[in-house]
Amino acid sequence: MDNALRELYQEVILDHSRHPRHYGAMDGASHKAEGYNPLCGDRVTVYLQLGADGRVADIRFEGKGCAISQASASMMTDMLKGRSQAEAEKLMQGFLHLVKGEDASDLSEDDRETLEVMGGISAFPMRVKCATLAWHTFKNAVEEGAT
């Protein structure tokens, strides 16, 4: 198998996609948004419980999609939980840079390490949308998704 493919479909990714974390609807979410990829028809719903301080107290997602979008959503929920809005925004920007193959050095070392498995996507520009769908949906949920 060629290297780019090996990078893309790393075991970590496949594991996340097969066994997504924080999967399923959330009752009583404070925020919620649906994301849609018109290219493939895939949908994802992101549920949030934002604390009074704006922190991501809880987060879940639901929806079908390709391995990349599922893994990305799953990792996102893992990483966002407990973060403040500013931290979440920073993480998201860093992630977007990373998957587009741009400079992601403003990510913390820890985050960079965790997200490294997603770096392979930058070699597949047509798939970047799959990876960013959940993140954009998260942002929408925060900004316009108060329930």
């Binding site: 780019a4 893309l8 479909y9 493939c40 390709c66 391995a67 047509m126 798939r127």
Partner: protein, 413 residues
Amino acid sequence: MNAPANIKIFDAERARADFEILSRQVYGKPLVYLDSGASAQKPRIVLDTMRDFAASEYANVHRGVHFLSAAATDRYEAARRTVQKFLSAAREDEIVFTKGGTEAINLVSYSFLAPALQPGDEIVLSVMEHHSNIVPWHFLRERQGAVLRWVDVRDDGSLDIEALDAAIGPKTKLVAITHMSNVLGTVTPLKDIVARAHAKGVPVLADGCQGAVHAVVDVQALDIDFYAITGHKLYGPTGIGALYAKRAHLKKMRPFNGGGEMIREVSQDRVSYADPPARFEAGTPPIVESVGLAAALDYLSGFDRAAVAAHEHDLLAYAREQVGQFNWLRVIGDAPGKGAILSFEAEGMHAHDLATILDREGVAVRAGHHCAQPLMERFGVASTTRASFAMYNTRADVDALIAGLAKARGILM
């Protein structure tokens, strides 16, 4: 599109050599192009004819008396006659050049249907239509209160002709139906459909964007009212398509785009319109593209079409048989006599992942909803993977697809 018993020989390897792009590599692997349903590659003769024409005989058409303008006009009108012959239309002025299949269908909507449409009027269409044969009718629903009557397909993807017949009622203003589904490959019985619709006084539009590529079309024998084609799937250029329409309809239809060439007289207070087909060809038409389309149709017609169809049918049958070995793969669309398109869903593997892995093997397939979302809904999927076969494909291409699928399974599962 069944192969007749006694067919002439078609040499796909030889045809292949006419398509320069097919000898290229991607990621160091030979290109296996199984995406002709989205757009076909173009033979050398099409590319050369267009370039030569543009480099030696080009000018704007119709309005000029000078040599190049006359030459270009001759080529443009000759292209119209080539399309006429290709579709067996009775008259050349029944062929309107458009920018593609989508515009051809929109032309029928804007110029034929919209002007007289009343709220509650119905349009009958099937669930396997391409968005290009759906959205124009949704416009009429949104804007003028038309009602869309959807006809289902059976589980094998074949059209439920009785359901279609039953859907045609006193308020039906048009049956809009694909000739061949771009997802299922299903070929519809146009002649039967037209007969049933005409029995109730209803005209029929066929979306022939796929159908005309794989079957010989005779609009007179079909007695069809409208038939839309697109150049780029017919081994021709982008930027051009055509609508066949019966003369009697065209004469009554109001213009769509307004501009040069489509008028008779314009003053400050008044405007009158040219006769068809000019009435529907506002502005400078796709001149070079018309010449390219004619070259493509001539190229295609240079083969025994039945032999080409038999070749494509063989590829489909072979592919169908090969994928049968994968019990994790569900083929969507198995109608008898279907065209050379194979759509499928793979258990636990998303179409986009499959397509990405196949791509790295050099195998180009489509993944997605194929601009047929109502059909996806009908079959309960968000997307499918689609391999579509053209005259230049071979069994080796199928083998590459099968090997790629096995590999994808290994990676993803």
